[in-house]
Symmetry: C2
Subunit: 171 residues, 2 copies
Amino acid sequence: MVFVLVAIAALAGVVVYIAPASGLADGEAAPIFGVTIPPGYRDWRLISVAHEEGNLDDLRAILGNDAAVEASRQGKLPFPDGTIIARLAWSYVPLEESSKAFGRLQSFVAGPPKNGVQFMLKDSRKYASTGGWGFAQFDDGKPANEAMHKTCFPCHEIAKTRDFVFNRYAR
Amino acid sequence: MVFVLVAIAALAGVVVYIAPASGLADGEAAPIFGVTIPPGYRDWRLISVAHEEGNLDDLRAILGNDAAVEASRQGKLPFPDGTIIARLAWSYVPLEESSKAFGRLQSFVAGPPKNGVQFMLKDSRKYASTGGWGFAQFDDGKPANEAMHKTCFPCHEIAKTRDFVFNRYAR
């Protein structure tokens, strides 16, 4: 059915992206919450961007599946079951051409991946004890350890009034 | 045809985004290059993220239409005709919850829009005298003035060896 749609769409001259309804793939599951890497997440739409100073020292993008983007855009809380939010991060590196042109550090861009990729998956029944969210971090595609996963919810609890999500939709 | 596809796709349980093949909308055209705001650009996929220090002081996202994303991902230069790259930017604001938790400034997130939205559109014949690119900046949906548009190409010329595009695809 999916392939038929793509073929029809190609003939119609439109561009079609197709994502599986489940949003979940095979692959090693992260400890505690059992979350796996959702396929195609790098192609998800942008919710917001961020920069962490200090030890983290990275540039970030918050992407979301359709449920996440629609809810964020509408500012609708709590997020519906099936929401998945992805936090990507990269090294914070000066853009060489810009430094030369300005004669000082001016532009910083995303370098190699850093601080892993994190996901929040909403399932209000399965993850009832952690605000309805399952958390996961993957470093080079491998789940981080259990101790690391124990730190997710206590930190996100700070944003309880926003359904435990730090970032707002960037308009 | 488009609506039929969406209906079929909904029944099939898949998610479908549809973008017009032209990528260009009505709306006031920017001076010199005549570029208009491409419809749906906020939903385009992410190429990279950046932070400008100094007077610009913003957080940025570089999004691209399909041609832009595919070429960036493959590191394929020059970009094909029809490529459109969008540069969004927002105020660089501290995340309040994070500052409280850390007892110092730690996380910076996207605040209100800042420094306009910029586009680069590839048409190697139409824009032959500016490396094949048309440039545009819009502030609150209105094109910036001609003087501003005269600054685009001289600045992007620094990145001539990368087809005048500063950002690389963030993996």
